[in-house]
């Protein structure tokens, strides 16, 4: 008999003391919240500050009518926490919820309604939306049904990877969209298991971190709109509308119909870690799926509306999220809820980091005013469990707060650098007057992050929200008609350029220019200081046909088309080599901002700026050409990147290198494949040592190193 079974401890609290509704029970433990399997039974614990009474409602799995309704005896309440252990339950075959009774007085913030069965905010498993897209039976009173589960996954030696932030190459993707397309050829398309089968692709691409669009349980069917042309029902595809914060989305699991989504997701994470790939979750704590006064009551609204939501003095919902309600993140109880939730994902799912949607909201006070020292952000920054977890803010909200560069960071928080995106896009399309700001952005935005280092800046040119890279160079305007809002949704400030024709074209010149522009974008992104983030599919020119807001497009507009891997092999190869190049040159990943200080080993500054003439950058308004040389320490190569967004070619005079080194050509986006890029380390030496002709709208990357004696 092994240790596990021989050490079954006799526990006094494994015996019931009371009987409620025909079930044997005893007072439960207030902590931890949620439903926890204990010897002989299940302990249920739920918080409500204003509830006058609380009832545990238990269903046999899948049934509409409850099998038991057990009111918590008054003596089972500690503070405002109701806790009860129920014995003799088959935890695998029940679902549960709560009825909270109390005042219905919206002006005071209270919306109790004992007729409703409420989801447990701490439920680790939710049933009711087990298979993606299956039309739910809305006549059932209880839709999102809490379930009990064990947290005994066998992780082996796995832990979060703790890769240095500056070494990350982030790949933003969608669990379903990544493999749902028939061309994916995976066993279970559109699921965690499907994504797991594509790990070799990610590894070969060279990314070492995937950032997943929301995976907390949400209801894809809560979008009521249809495509006006086809009549097709539109789903909430992105999922920024959380129903349950501790539960992985069942519809993203091939085994969701068996309630095994937790293990399937953990297995994916374990295997990603084994491949050296971290997992960052896009988390949405700014609002919930309960909407405003007209929205459904799912959980918080009925349990403790006044605690969980920011309310106006009249009891209406503040709407800083643009979606109806705003979570009251800096209320002490809610702070702890967010902390408990993130700890759960790190401890029980080995998640490596989080990207916080509309994170500026997390810094607002209970009345909505921005706080100088927001307790929630500080709490997360210093929490022991989250200590090495990546924390990334989308540092703005829909209420007008824009904090890029001054998000309260506590030495820990990084930000989606929206200014990087805007500047690089503007430069790429050939806007005048951008070279100065471009220099600041590619050097890791020292104007924004002087005290925080370069890895505070998550650099991106495209993300799920907006154009894909292929669309950025193919459309001047958004084309969102399929979303059913008359093309009024989605951003208008895209800084995009179609290269001469709107949308697909047969013009070979335009198509060549588009490919070059995509390569230019990738080359700039991968040679900038800061953490680069790539939108999934950009490496193979994924198009959304000009739709820049595909939140509701669960179809080929959004899905990764794997046939593009072969069709756009040229761009894929370019992306791979650029990622590999970044990995090879640590000066591109330096955490400190460059200072211009001369490196003694090579006699060159850590960063230097150049134009057509070496050492003479042109910062004038009409300049569309900038070159940067980075010099590392010791034997590091010198990396020279020239970026020309002008429509004409220019002769470049190259800076002189120390004795024994010469310039080698790594990439020239103006050259036809396969001469557009080389394998890092295999660059040929330039024939004309001091000069290089950069073509129109091109990026050239040179490496200053000692020549390979064999070449």
């Amino acid at each position: 008999m092994s240790e596990a079974r021989s050490e079954q401890v006799l526990r006094v609290d494994a015996y019931p003391t009371h009987e409620v509704g025909g079930y044997r029970v005893r007072a439960g433990k207030p902590f931890p919240f949620g439903a926890n399997v204990v010897p002989g039974g299940v302990s249920f614990s739920v918080f409500s500050d204003q509830a006058s009474s609380m009832t545990l409602v238990i269903f046999k799995r899948g049934e509409s009518e409850p099998m038991a309704e057990l009111e918590f005896p008054e003596e089972f309440r500690t503070g405002s926490v109701f806790a009860m252990t129920v014995f003799g339950l088959d935890h695998e075959n029940i679902e549960y919820g709560y009825r909270a009774d109390g005042p219905y007085d919206p002006v005071s913030g209270h919306r109790f309604d004992a007729r409703q069965v409420l989801s447990d905010p701490y439920a680790r498993l939710i049933s009711g939306r087990d298979v993606w897209g299956v039309e739910p039976d809305r006549s059932r009173g209880y839709q999102y049904r809490s379930r009990v589960c064990l947290q005994d996954f066998d992780w082996g030696d796995d832990t979060p990877l703790r890769l240095p932030a500056e070494d990350l190459v982030v790949y933003e993707t969608h669990v379903r969209g990544f493999t749902r397309h028939p061309s994916s050829q995976v066993t279970a398309p559109g699921t965690f298991a499907g994504l797991r089968e594509k790990i070799p692709y990610l590894k070969e691409l060279g990314v070492n971190c995937i950032e997943l669009l929301p995976v907390f349980e949400f209801d894809e069917s809560d979008n009521m709109r249809s495509n006006p042309e086809t009549g097709e029902h539109l789903f909430d595809y992105w999922g920024y509308n959380t129903v349950s914060f501790f539960a992985p989305k069942a519809g993203y699991a091939a085994t969701g119909r068996y309630g095994m989504q937790g293990d399937e997701f953990r297995t994916l994470i374990k295997d990603l870690h084994a491949a050296g790939i971290e997992v960052i979750l896009d988390v949405v704590f700014n609002h919930t799926a309960e909407g405003n006064e007209q929205g459904p009551t799912i959980s918080f609204k009925g349990l403790d509306n006044a605690t969980y939501y920011m309310l106006t003095p009249e009891g209406y919902y503040f709407n800083f999220s643009g979606t109806g309600n705003t979570v009251n993140c800096n209320h002490p109880v809610v702070r702890n809820f967010v902390l408990d939730c993130l700890r759960h994902w790190v401890a029980d799912y080995h998640i490596d980091g989080f990207r916080f949607d509309l994170a500026a909201i997390l810094g607002r006070a209970l009345d909505g005013t921005p706080l100088p020292n927001p307790p929630l952000l500080e709490l997360l920054a210093f929490d022991p469990v989250l200590r090495h977890t990546k924390l990334i803010a989308e540092a703005w909200d829909a209420g007008g707060l824009y904090e890029v560069g001054n998000f309260p960071a506590y030495g820990r928080w990084a930000e989606w650098n929206g200014k990087y995106r805007d500047t690089v896009r503007s430069f790429l399309k050939g806007d005048p007057g951008v070279t100065g700001e471009l220099a600041t952005r590619i050097a890791g935005s020292p104007d924004l992050y002087s005290t925080r280092g370069t890895s505070a800046s998550v650099n991106f040119i495209t993300a799920h929200d907006g154009f894909t890279l292929a669309d950025l160079v193919s459309y001047n305007d958004k084309h969102n008609e399929a979303n059913g809002e008359g093309n009024n949704d989605g951003g208008n400030d895209n800084a995009s350029w179609n290269c001469g024709a709107e949308g697909p074209t047969d013009d070979p010149e335009i198509n060549r220019l588009r490919t070059r522009q995509m390569k230019n974008a990738l080359a700039i992104l991968m040679t900038s200081q800061g953490i680069p983030m790539l939108l999934s599919g950009d490496e193979v020119a994924r198009t959304q046909q000009g739709n820049n807001n595909t939140y509701c497009q669960d179809n080929e507009l959004s899905w990764f088309d794997w046939s593009q891997v072969d069709e756009n092999a040229e761009l894929l190869r370019f992306t791979r080599e650029m990622i590999a190049f970044r990995g090879r040159h640590r000066e591109l990943r330096s955490t400190s901002h460059p200072t211009g200080q001369v490196r003694e080993s090579l006699g060159l500054p850590d960063i230097s700026w150049h134009g057509e003439r070496a050492w003479q950058p042109d910062w004038s308004a009409e300049s569309r050409l900038l070159a940067v040389a980075r010099c590392g320490t010791g034997d590091d190569d010198v990396v020279y990147v020239a970026m020309n967004s002008h429509w004409e070619a220019h002769d470049l005079e190259l800076p002189a290198l120390p004795h024994g080194r010469s310039w080698h050509l790594f990439a020239d986006t103006g050259a036809e494949a396969p001469h557009d890029i080389r394998t890092p380390g295999g660059e040929p030496e330039l024939e004309n040592a001091g000069k290089y002709l950069i073509g129109p709208r091109s990026v050239v990357i040179l490496v200053g190193r000692t020549p390979d004696p064999e070449l």
Binding site: E92, N93, D154, A254, Y258, M260, D263
Partner: protein, 120 residues
Amino acid sequence: MSLNVKERRNKGGTVLVATGEINSETSGQLLQSLLPLVREGRPLRIDLTAVTYVSSAGLRTLLVVYREAQHAGVAVTLYGVSEEVRFVMSATGFLDFFETGEAAAAQSKAKSTPKTAVAR
């Protein structure tokens, strides 16, 4: 649905033939049958050909048996795993603890540590 369990002893070891579903209601019974066999120390085969469904609790039970067998130095082999059960075990990572029949045979030559195995 219930679970029927039959033991059969032969020269090479013991075979346990399971019929039905392995879920939270039946997994206790399966464990009761398997643990004494693990303790006997003879090679153990679990024949799942007639098992139509293994729930989350059932998978955990199989993993517990694996851990007990590992502890006792006993080889456990799963046989007759249906396509569906195999897929569920694979997606949830439980299959990683077991090896295919061929691989287990190769392993036993290479290593002295007994492994559990899955064979069709």
